[in-house]
Amino acid sequence: MILAFVALLALGAPQQDVAPAEETTALEEEVSSPAVVLDRTPQEWPRAEAGAWSDWTPEVAPEGELLVHMRTAAIHYRRGDLPGSLTALFELLEAQPDYPPALYQAGAIYFRLRRYGDAAYAFERYLAVAPQQVGDTRALGHALYTLGRYEEAAEHYRRVIEASGEQPEALRGQALTEWRLGRPDEALALLGRVLELDPEHEEAQLWRARILHDEDRPEEALAAAEAARERDPFEPQAWFLLSRLYFEAGRDEEGEAARARFLQLDLVEQETRVIESQLLYAPQQPRLRARLIELRASTGDLAAVREAFAEWMQFDSRGVAVRMHAIDVLVSLEDREGADLAAASLKAVAGDDADAWAKLARYYATTRQRSLQVEAERRVGELRGR
């Protein structure tokens, strides 16, 4: 379970078993917790006595109340309910001050909520009780960077890399920080190292292009920007940079084309940012989730559409409507594989919903999956009394 939790955090967490997936059912029935926790600050957390967690290691699995709270936090998190997850962690940290995994996960949640000062505070509290875990805390560097505390961020990235080796994300963070501090050569060298470790690292390629552009090295910048666009053709910033580079090179036609694509993607990105920001704090908004998918689909970004549906389905784990909608959207995007997955997911939750089975029957008919079609039609007949 913790591995899934960590994957969702996408920030890297201390690895621990917290809750098996099958034990989450009861909590998933609950409504999201109120967002009172958003009016609180991590400075309220009590402190443990010195050395209270000196024996703690990531291998020590939580037990008893710790396990319950961590499990609750994980379940809320998986559902996209960050305030709910944070509430559970607050309760835990009030009962068991400075419990390291809770501090860490609170930091990760604050980071996702874009409360970077609180994230930095939580990670610093984590490091105060688990200093040997510094290698796990590149997110602290990201938080400091986002707050504009570049010197501190650079120092922290150095500590992370020293402790845990060359992680591409930490190297990338350090590179950006070096650039902000006016050291472009160091930044380019670090980004080069990221690309050696992970040749498909699209952000590293894009940042390399930006810095090369800023350093008036247009040919190299153009090559890097084109490579970044190849890696992620739906990233507006790559098109923005390409447009600038084309215009500056006097390639006006290509500049205009890149600009047009940038404007299209950027328009979508602007609205997406607003919606995602709202969903972070109040995830139970199907209308916004549907709009998010509509936006993603409008650019043809299939991966993003799938990701948005996956997030919605995690939040609405038994929702029929979202799965029916997913089939329609993925079919319209000619994503047969994704539509098949959505259909399988719908089938798993359809239960006695005749409309859901009818949708499945139509889908299977269209895709010529005869045995499944027959099964679905039979269920429709049963449910509608035919």
Binding site: A35, L38, D39, R40, T41, P83, Y110, L113, R114, R115, Y116, G117, D118, T146, L147, G148, R149, Y150, W179, R180, L181, G182, R210, D214, P236, Q237, W239, F240, L241, S243, R244, F247, E248, G255, R259, F262, D266, Q270, V274, Q278, L280, Y281, A282
Partner: protein, 540 residues
Amino acid sequence: MIALVPLLFASDALFTEVGETALPGAVTTCGSLEKDFILEVNGGGVLLEDFDRDGNMDLVVVDGSTLARAKAGEPSLPAHLFLGDGKGGFAAAGDAWNLAGGRWGMGGAVGDVNGDGWPDIFVTHWGGDRLYLNEAGEGFRDATLGSGLEGDRWGTSAAFLDADGDGALDLYVVNYLAFDPETVPARGSGCTWKGHEVMCGPEGLVPVHDQFYRGKGDGTFVEESLARGLKPERAGFGLGVVTLDYDGDGDTDLYVSNDSTPNFLWENQGDGTFVDVGFRRGASHDANGKEQAGMGIACGDLDGDGRPDLFVTNFSGENNALYRSTGSGGFRERSARAGLGGPSIARLGWGTGMADFDLDGALDLFVMNGHVYPQADKAGTDTSYAQLDQFFRGDREGRFAEELLSDAPATTSRAAATADLDNDGDLDIVALSVEGPVRVLLNGAEHGPDRHWLRVRLVGRGGNTAGLGARVTARWKDGSRSVDVRTAGGFQASLPAEAHFGFGALAELEALEVRWPSGVVQRVEAPALDRVLVVEEEAR
């Protein structure tokens, strides 16, 4: 009127706030303290010029209103003129200078719209804007009716310029958004920021196009926005404007900061028509291709290359943006390497200015800060409602070191403008908070043999009597610096029409060169420094 003594300059900060003594009792209003609507957050405006031509800078403070007054159909609180004593103090002007309230005052611009040699004022409003003509230094006359400037949009900043070189000042009015208190949702309608309920907008509201008015030279205007090409693909939430000659071709261009929408760089095509080249020239977005929440603008030639650089204040969580001019006629956003990125992220900047405040020969910057949301004081926002203002001391390499602007406590600053209020050669600041006392910040820069300066005022031939749009270039043995003469700058503010230079230890210029809007280039050989130099335009 109270003279201000050097004793006031006791702190380490360059500026000392003296508003309580310099301008006692002067306050502004901008809606409720709760800020339930976006209309209530901009604050008022500051217009500085020597309106009675006695050699001392005077001040017009544009005041706002409240929703209760507006809904009741009552006029906004009127703008006020305060006459300067040349020592940093002000006194309320007599009745002849009275200004009327409009619907809700915002900012404005100063320019001689009828070519009589006396500076007139234009005041922007949510609702009808206002034009006041200066009656030969004896008072203001409301000339709005029949002037062609009876717009009913939400104007914020404005700029006078002679766009087409006909000698008559034209006007660009920056508009924000369509606001109707009956339809725009109030705080509590579900608009959130960082998880907290806040007032709604500008996202989700409708931006309104800016307006261009051709001046006839007699104090009347004709709107020609479309004919001049001043209609972008998408309107912006406009807040700031500056006039400049970004491409050095002798005509006046415009740069407009837009909130949450790309900034405009309107390139004058030489005939008074414009094309937005902001994107193409790299001045519309930040370096990452993100449109920022542009508020105020400062402009100056940081590196003496003869091309103006731009500085835009932005929202908290974003960096203020320094757009450095490049050799290819464009801009690069280079805030971080100048030392201006990180220090601005926790702040929300408004009024700003770029000048050599400490007279050391390098341009500096100041930024007035304060959040729009009182809820910024709640948990997890990474910022605060009241904020400290910042001074960025520049060096000759184009890098800046952050300092406090003054010892004043944190407040919710908004508009600000600079002028030499005490006639000592350095530039002082008048600033507003979103509401509350008018603030006067006197500059305590050192003076002496290592701190030379020059203020240049122009007298143009024809209707553009203050020479708006002229480029003044100071040349010395191994360098030069150019200043475009303008009154537009900052946020909801107007600056005196003059060029200010600091030279540090440089005691001698080879020449001062003035390129007038008419095309005449005039040279003043080896002008003496540390004074106000008045240059009259020569005949062709």
